[in-house]
């Protein structure tokens, strides 16, 4: 895979992280295609070491952190701007570290990209959470822009050590 493409994608992911860290959520939402899916499975500890890591993850038909369309994501975004979204009043301060960007596939229209994330969240006086995991994105070239058509977020924790996920990953 050519490094020029990876650089373009890294720039895109860093811009996305910047929009989220700067709480520009409406602009962030515009990075998604209209038919986007935003999916985050839950996970469990298996009895035996599986050959396929995804066996530890919930599948469609099971539970999940997120199973959103752009429309249900939009409600989440608009909620944060409303007056009584207490989980984000006062707002979380976040810092996203995006790394290990791998371009897995490119069919000319859509690109499959994997990346790792570490999201530090602090809020109010001294609340602290660290969300760590990997993302599997399908990015789509729309006109001259890049958009997120599908995002899968896999958190590493089995029991979430946070009171909520009121931010976006």
């Amino acid at each position: 895979m050519d490094s020029g493409l990876r650089q373009t994608i890294e720039d895109f992911l860093y811009l996305e992280a910047e929009l989220l860290d700067e709480r520009r959520l409406r602009e962030w939402l515009e990075l998604f295609t209209d038919d986007a899916r935003y999916w985050a499975p839950i996970r469990h500890n298996p009895l035996e070491r599986p050959d396929d890591l995804t066996e530890e993850l919930s599948k469609p038909g099971d539970s999940y952190y997120f199973n959103d369309t752009k429309q249900t994501l939009k409600i989440r975004v608009e909620r944060v701007y409303s007056k009584q979204a207490w989980a984000e009043i006062p707002p979380s301060r976040t810092r996203r570290l995006i790394s290990n960007v791998r371009v897995k596939k490119d069919d000319g229209t859509e690109i499959e990209v994997h990346s790792n994330f570490l999201v530090y969240r602090t809020r109010m006086e001294k609340d602290e959470d660290i969300f760590v995991g990997t993302r599997k994105d399908i990015l789509r070239r729309v006109d001259s822009a890049m958009k997120i058509a599908r995002r899968t977020i896999v958190l590493d924790q089995a029991v979430l050590a946070a009171k909520n996920i009121s931010i976006f990953l």
């Binding site: 839950i42 298996p46 038909g61 409600i75 409303s82 089995a158 946070a162 009171k163 909520n164």
Partner: protein
């Protein structure tokens, strides 16, 4: 300690210490969590022989395990030898569990089957060293409960009138229900803050959850909220719920359903639902949320069941499942699961906003000055009870009656030396 003095039902006052005191918490572990029937899991999580799911009863780790003959059993997840956990997985299928430490191996009926170098032990009677079973295990329409107390009343007696209301979620369709999950997460709040909230706090919704409602995401319909006809219902034994009462012109089992597709589904199957539940439960009442004493809570309309596992006086671990009709078509099941988790889960647009409230209520109980001032449970709007054949003691939706009956029962259980005393004073 005088537990009863911490709860003043006449004055509507609760001493904040109940939410943070270590001594009270240790008493809860001994007298409440080691004695009451606690929710372990759903039949649909362990359908086949050998299937298991690990769970907790209070802070006690347990294995819920369908034995090779198909009987559901539960054991303390502790090797009898040194105490290591014999199972480290969350779920799966196993014929035996072998302790990683020295290899003691237990069969699915809990018996100690294999002891490496057994000949080196002094008269080891393997029959005496099996996994520690719960004292009683039973299920109610898919929900599996257990207790560590052999003196506890039978599950059906323990649930009392609450079972009648649970049917409205569990027994709408042939085949009952199935669950997905659980979501598991940690919150720095006392478990009772959540149990009392789900048990009857219709009052907090306008303030705490105003944002979700403003954006058209609710746990019921706006028409239901405008009419606001409903009751707190106390079923005795600490079981409490809050329910909408159906207006006569809109009577039907689709009443109060928060999502159009689910209302349509209920309409389609109204005949079956009414046949199973009878007229009153199908057409005249629609429970929203409730708590099965002590720490299982239910949201009927958004279809979640959850356990508030205690993790110390000021910490809990929430386990939450979405629960759907087994007979529903796949697309309706998915709408049910989404309706549930989009509202109630760590990412839920309702549930996210609850957490800081409960954390800070717990924090206030640690405050030396704050503890000098009791918490207010004085809401008690007087309005006539609906004469529609409901069970339990009815009070206004705008009341703290449920919360007080929860804490009165809680105090009774903590003070009682045995189940005989709890039963004799049950009101």
């Amino acid at each position: 300690m005088e537990i009863k003095s911490l709860v003043d039902p006449e004055g509507g006052l609760i001493n904040r210490r109940i939410f943070a005191d270590r001594e009270i918490y240790e008493l809860e572990r001994e007298r409440l969590f080691a004695r009451c029937w606690l929710y372990l899991g759903h039949e649909s999580e362990i359908p086949k022989p050998g299937d298991f799911a690990t769970a907790y009863m209070g802070e006690e780790p347990v294995i819920l395990w369908r034995d090779l003959n198909g009987k559901a059993r539960a054991f303390l997840n502790m090797c009898r030898h040194r105490g290591n956990r014999v199972c480290r997985a969350d779920r799966g299928n196993a014929k035996v569990f072998t302790c990683s430490y020295h290899g003691w191996t237990y069969s699915s009926d809990g018996k100690l089957a294999i002891v490496p170098r057994a000949e080196a032990f002094r008269d080891l009677d393997r029959d005496k060293w099996g996994l520690i079973p719960v004292a009683q295990l039973d299920s109610y329409k898919g929900l599996i409960f257990a207790t560590f107390d052999p003196e506890a009343p039978a599950l059906l007696e323990y649930l009392g009138d609450m079972a009648w209301y649970l049917d409205i979620l569990l027994d709408r369709r042939e085949g009952g229900t199935e669950v997905s999950g659980p979501h598991r997460w940690i919150v720095d709040a006392n478990w009772k803050t959540a149990a009392e909230n789900f048990g009857g706090d219709g009052y907090h919704i306008a303030s705490t959850h105003g944002s979700a409602r403003d954006l058209g995401v609710d746990t019921t319909t706006s028409e239901t909220r405008i009419s606001a006809k409903g009751h707190q219902i106390s079923c005795g034994n600490g079981h409490i719920l809050v329910a909408w009462v159906t207006p006569p012109e809109d009577a039907g089992p689709w009443f109060a359903q928060p999502v159009t597709e689910l209302a349509d589904y209920m309409k389609k199957h109204a005949g079956e639902i009414e046949k199973r539940l009878g007229e009153v439960r199908a057409r005249k009442v629609s429970p929203s949320a409730g708590t099965v004493f002590p720490n299982l809570s239910v949201h009927w309309l958004t279809r979640t069941i959850r356990v508030w596992h205690p993790r110390g006086p000021d910490k809990m671990e929430i386990w939450s499942w979405a629960i759907v009709d087994k007979a529903a078509p796949p697309e309706i099941k998915e709408i049910m699961r989404f309706t549930s988790q989009y509202r109630f889960s760590p990412t839920g647009v309702f549930e996210q906003d609850d957490m800081d409230n409960w954390i800070q209520v717990t924090g206030a109980a640690r405050s030396v000055i704050g503890r000098r001032y009791p918490a207010n449970y004085q809401m008690s709007l007087s309005e006539p009870a609906s004469e529609i054949g409901l069970r339990g003691r009815l009070s206004s939706r705008w009341s703290d009656s449920n919360q007080l009956s929860l804490y009165l029962h809680w105090a009774k259980v903590l003070e009682a030396k045995n189940w005989g005393e709890i039963r004799s004073s049950a009101a």
